[in-house]
Assembly symmetry: C2
Homo-oligomer: 412 residues x 2
């Protein structure tokens, strides 16, 4: 058995078809309704945002998965309208699109999994989605072009589509994973089990032809999400619609067994890690991607808490935008993270450049060298807390005037 | 007895002198060493940042107040260097300036209360502060001009000085409070009792001629700070040096008694409230000051938690910068605040304009009218959680490209 990332057509998971059309929901007139179908249905695992405020498709999607015991025949995504804070009309509009999709794609209405992304609070144009369904059906197919159509249609402020794939070879049979994701703002996913209300702007759809049950898939998905999508932040705003859906068609004929759990989990981690990275890399206004490697923590949760304080600090993020090695801001943010530590034991490096140790600026601090590291589009900042062996890698980005420009002019 | 805010010279508290000089610490060459002295000493109450990382002057100041039992003869402030993350050398430099100040101002070295604000991690130029002391002494005086000199010297990226005063008339005798404060970035004070380490960029000095003990003053200061400085945020970055110091000279001859506690507390609240507002109003790059009035909460702490999530949301803050009534972002931020609530019971208004109720956009939503409210420099957003009677008022601001510009070019 081996994991590998392939880009050839053969590595798309079997048992799925994809398609998309322009339904006039995006003001730009671009592709905005995407569909993925599993003609023989697929077993699903899902994680939704932990936001208290949830979009209608999350409420409906959760209800549908409960009703079917985790079976999905069609994924119906629209971009351009989040269908969040739209009241009972939003719920009804969502159900209406699922009923229409069930008719079009010949399944039961609660086998349709709905998703929306876009502006919050604007009435949901269900009629546009419904009217687009016959056209979507005509676009369905299982080639890479079809899959890319799907990946493009789910984008909002993304500048490029995000896909990733991996293959596990099981005694000569390929088990494929292919995923598509979208960002690009309101990105600080806090995904949890499907309880409580969600409105999300990170949408990720993972398809595999492995044969596995819904519960088994959930056990695989949770840890993969925890170390990928739950370890990224663009702006610290956790959306009301964040969704990660994993569908397993079983079309490879390979059943999930204890023996292939680890290689499959590794492949899933690869795909999730790649998509998470791509989402930050294409974040709104991003000019630098920064990996925060927090080490020497007492627990992984504490390492993450420190990483998040830094990742959400406007002062750290603006300094990164100008490659300013102002490490004092990193230390200050760690200091207010809520994690107790002794500053005298902290060690900070930018790339391989030492900047802080023994409670003060490193004697080896070389401002020009640290600045040079930060001129790269991507680099790592390592902060060792000096009080344990737990760690985390958290991917984030700088805050630029371009981010402000993009978000200061959204709905008006 | 009555409270009033006066601007005439007579309302400065007696028993203090102020002065300041240019010591060459600020790159701009502006005033950067400020001193306030209480020739007969004053009783002190203090609150420091709760940041785990503390600047040297906080460590030293805390030690001095413990040693003297809360007695202060001189306040010594420098701007341009935070003396934070400067190791043992920073502590020694701070002590050295206190010893020199004690000699200059004829007091004991631990009656000197030191403060620093500026960049973190750059070696502290103690020698510049020491060399400046004789010149500072020559500037000391008790007129409004002297007090303003002090208020100007403590500024960093502030564009204007921040002062406030109030008078309590006690049977014909005036008890005065005068305060000076500085912002303008790394502003999200989380002040607590003087325990644990702090580096802060909000510095506030409050002077009164009331006669009161250190413990009594602490009891008055804590609630005043809780509803003023602990209820503002510019960028959500809690500094390592934040300090609020209240000094009581006793020179009015009026002793704090139960009878005057309430009017004095009211006057102190006025001064703290005014300074807190001025600090946000002069925040880095601020073009709009927004008061978040969170009502209908189960507890004041929950109201504050919701306010902070909104105040720290880049998406809310960028929308404010363009007067965009994108209320969905307010709701989303409240949703991830960690406070549980039912979105269907939430009511949101921008100024008096209803925007969200009963789980969806208000039928009375008038985008143009809401936009018009947001074009004002200052307005209130009211969010009622519909589940209790606790509330808070939290003052914050927008996030502009100018904030990014200011902070993307600080140390280099």
């Amino acid at each position: 058995m081996s994991n590998e990332q392939k880009t050839n057509a053969q590595s798309l998971p079997r048992g799925f078809q994809w398609g998309a059309v322009k339904a006039g929901i995006k003001a730009s007139g671009k592709l905005d309704v995407a569909v993925a179908i599993a003609p023989k249905t697929a077993n699903a695992a899902v994680m939704f945002t932990k936001n208290q405020v949830v979009a209608a498709p999350i409420t409906v999607g959760r209800r549908h998965l409960r009703a079917t015991g985790g079976r999905v025949a069609a994924v119906l995504v629209n971009a351009g309208n989040a269908n969040c804070a739209t009241g009972q009309a939003g719920i009804e509009g969502c159900v209406q699109t699922c009923v229409a999709a069930a008719e079009t794609f010949h399944c039961i209405f609660d086998e349709v999994f709905p998703s929306s992304t876009g502006i919050i609070g604007v009435p949901f144009p269900a009629e546009k989605v419904v009217a687009a369904l016959p056209a979507v059906q005509a676009t369905l197919g299982d080639t890479p072009d079809h899959a890319e159509l799907f990946a493009q249609a789910i984008m909002t402020t993304d500048t490029r589509m995000k896909t990733a794939r991996a293959v596990v070879d099981v005694d000569g049979t390929e088990v494929n994973i292919w995923g598509a994701g979208k960002g690009a703002g309101m990105i600080h996913p806090q995904l949890g089990a499907p309880v409580g209300p969600p409105h999300a702007t990170m949408l990720v759809y993972l398809f595999t032809d492995l044969a596995a049950g819904s519960e088994e898939l959930n056990k695989l998905l949770a840890p993969a999400v925890e170390r990928s999508f739950n370890c990224i932040s663009i702006d610290g705003d956790t959306s009301t619609n964040d969704t990660v859906l994993l569908l397993a068609s079983g079309a490879s004929g390979v059943q999930l067994t204890e023996r292939i759990t680890e290689p499959f989990a590794n492949a899933l981690n690869l795909v999730c890690g790649s998509l998470a990275h791509q989402i930050v890399d294409d974040g709104e206004g991003v000019s630098h991607v920064v990996t925060l490697h927090i080490t020497g923590a007492r627990t992984e949760a504490e390492a993450k808490q420190v990483a998040k304080a830094i990742a959400h600090s406007p002062l750290c993020k603006t300094a990164w935008s100008s490659a300013d090695p102002n490490w004092g801001r990193l230390l200050a943010a760690a200091g207010y993270s809520g994690v107790e530590f002794d500053p005298a034991k902290v060690n900070i490096r930018i790339g391989v450049q030492p900047v802080f140790e023994l409670g003060m600026r490193s004697p080896l601090f070389d401002e020009a060298a640290a600045h040079a590291v930060m001129l790269e589009r991507e680099y790592t900042i390592t902060l060792d807390l000096g009080q344990g062996s737990a760690e985390c890698q958290f991917i984030t980005c700088d805050l630029t005037a371009e981010y402000v420009r993009i978000n200061a002019d959204y709905s008006t």
